[in-house]
Assembly symmetry: C2
Homo-oligomer: 285 residues x 2
């Protein structure tokens, strides 16, 4: 057992140190043009978009946000432990006005592609890890994809692969990894996840009254942080998952050396259970 532990630690450490983006910086500033401020009636949420992984989805979502498309829209499909989905009224002119997107569920990787490795032989993928703050997975055939961890922002779609437009969802429960690759993930919550968890559920169990649509949680506003008056900007920095510090945290998290662990758990890590920390630089003036 001990030997196996040592091998795994070395692996994780070397992988991270070998990443092309290796940096000594523990924290990374967000690009305010790819950061969204979501205002809910009960609090503010900050989202980091992922143009490096899902450029077309981010471009369309950002354009919609810029023209206040989502302001007043509602979270109309909210299932506890699963997703909080929002968007325009289904089938409305507004809904139909948005172009259909080609899915960006996975991307090709070449020999030079690297990431901060977390785990091999994860239940759903050959490898998991992080790249620029985002949890992802890859196979052994030059393909990688973002994973459906809690806090993930992805685009909803119809039955066809290429059928997403403006309806989106946040993952609010145990990672629904079976949706990996067949949905387009294009962002993640970096601040205010508890407010996402407080969105009114719309699904009910057998025997309960239906939730009146008037009680669905509305989006007060959604803006690109770059377009928010400086005084009202929330400035977040996120953990740099390419840093030596983060690699060291992975090693420690796997080892569980703290005496609380009187018996050691298996030396494995669920990529969706590894926190990527945020810190608040400025809340509001």
């Amino acid at each position: 057992m001990f030997k196996k532990l040592v091998v795994l630690f070395s692996f994780a450490f070397i992988s991270a140190c070998g990443a092309d983006n290796a940096s000594d910086e523990q924290w990374r500033a967000l690009d305010l043009n790819n950061t969204v401020l979501l205002t809910l009636p009960h609090g503010k949420v900050v989202i980091e978009l992922a143009p490096q992984f899902s450029p077309k989805h981010v471009a369309q979502f950002s354009a919609l946000v810029k023209k206040s498309f989502y302001d007043g829209a509602k979270f109309y499909r909210v299932i506890d432990g699963f997703v909080a989905q929002g968007g325009p009224e289904d089938g409305s002119d507004k809904d139909k006005s948005v172009p259909i997107l080609a899915i960006e569920g996975q991307f090709s990787t070449d020999k030079n592609w690297s990431f901060t490795a977390v785990q091999t032989d994860d239940l759903f993928a050959a490898k998991t890890g992080f790249k620029k703050g985002f949890a992802l997975a890859s196979d052994n055939h030059n393909s990688a994809w973002l994973t459906h961890c809690p806090g993930t922002l992805a685009m909803a779609r119809g039955n066809k692969a290429d059928s997403a437009s403006s309806h989106f969802y946040f993952v609010i429960g145990q990672a629904p990894r079976y949706l990996d690759k067949i949905m387009t993930i294009f962002g993640r919550v970096v601040y205010g996840m508890a407010h996402i968890q407080a969105i009114q559920r719309t699904s009910v169990i057998e025997g309960e009254y239906a939730i009146d649509s008037r009680d669905h949680t509305p989006i007060v506003s959604m803006k690109l942080m770059a377009d928010v008056p400086v005084k009202e900007q929330i400035i977040i920095e996120v953990e740099n998952t390419e840093s030596a510090d983060f690699a060291e945290r992975l090693v420690k998290r796997r080892a569980r050396e703290n005496e609380f662990f009187y018996n050691k758990p298996p030396p494995v890590l669920d990529v969706c259970q590894v926190p990527v920390r945020s810190r608040l630089v400025k809340l509001q003036d």
Copy 2:
């Protein structure tokens, strides 16, 4: 790929049908003496206790509930995506009045032991499955244990294995499976999980103000359902995880035959991502 699918389905189906508790009943009534009504300021939560797995913890917790021990206590350690922990004021006379418990993190199984199988070679265990509604895992050496899925209720402890008394936590995020076996799980939320998710977080990120302890969410009351006046009882039935119906749902969930899955996900199931449904028989008169 297709062949592998077929094998896995057969396995799941046969396992469930072979379970000693196999039943045609899709729903199971709860024992009101092992059901807890937790009243929070913002809603009511129903918890099923697990005396069959953790008898000493359930006995002590039930006895404390019966004498209103938790009424007015607070959720003082609430970390988004992880746990909501509550209990008496740390180190108070009330706190110290409660006997220490020996851990019940796992239990022995014999050849006649059976469960509804979900997955082999889960990242954390050789096998996972359900028994009487509870998600669990087992190794190949006559040992099994409840798993830390979202909604799980477990007893907090100090560094020593045998150091739990009255402080408890609900899992509110991605399953922290590394805590399996070294903590005692003794219940699960069967109704009102959204209210658990709405408990005030107490942990803050760097740069945020601390949360005043006066803002911590209090427990209005916690009662055994059998002790609640009939008019105020919430009567829940839960899915019978030993039923043929549940086994069939597992098969379907693994197969993902719906046309939404234009590409099939891997034929695996995360036991913590399989819903065990509840239905409401009576809310309140």
